[in-house]
Point group: C2
Chain length 157, copies 2
Amino acid sequence: MSSTLNPALDLEIVRVLRAPRALVWKAWSDPDHLKQWWCPKPWTTEVRAFDFRTGGAFHTFMRGPDGGESDNPGVFLEVTPMSRIVTTSSLGAGWRPQESWLPMTAFITMEDEGGSTRYTARVLHRDEASRKRHEEMGFYEGWGTCMSQLEAYAAAL
Amino acid sequence: MSSTLNPALDLEIVRVLRAPRALVWKAWSDPDHLKQWWCPKPWTTEVRAFDFRTGGAFHTFMRGPDGGESDNPGVFLEVTPMSRIVTTSSLGAGWRPQESWLPMTAFITMEDEGGSTRYTARVLHRDEASRKRHEEMGFYEGWGTCMSQLEAYAAAL
């Protein structure tokens, strides 16, 4: 399933990560790897569910040094090896509807770029207010930091 | 993607339809057929979107003889020919999150039963209140009537 960017509703970051696509995929596809780069440090990630297939649960729980917490249950809508991962917070395991504090669907795509990886994170929201709130929460800085962490982690695998 | 029934949250009807599976599938897979049996008559269905593939829009709009209306945009999560159709009202076209007056995910499965079709409609809700509301709206009667209409329509194709 491909998607089309709607600038009024969506947020996107495209970066070329200096790591081979096979290693970027590896860093994504194992929860023990994923938790190492998933959220901006010094926040930490606990992976509570990682059933890496279409309809499988994906649940991360993040903790900050000041006691802050962020609970993010969701589901995989698509897992295409080495190429595309789609997740949403609007459904839970087995595609059951659920309420989310931040309803979104994220399309992650990976393409070869020489020996590096063109990595795209496109996030779809249900309305302009949700997009605005996500941007104001620090979407670009937060997801950008995670991409840098992913790049460094994958390159060292 | 299979699902497991949770009696506290889900609603299900299983019926053997006296029509071959190929015709039941045919009655589902074309909007000109679908609109003939989709909602309990004398209500009528307008199919506003029917992009019959994973991630494709599925939008029905129903009208009653007394001026009542029911607007149901959603998306296909899975389309496996002759076997399984999954839709949700919690996402729209391209898997974009959306609010729904009735958040649900429906799993439709079709299996051979002699020359007939074992037809299962399993509907997942996000909480007990949603399930209860859906049942009180007349889930069993409404979906049951549609299944009878589907059976008669498919058998005559």
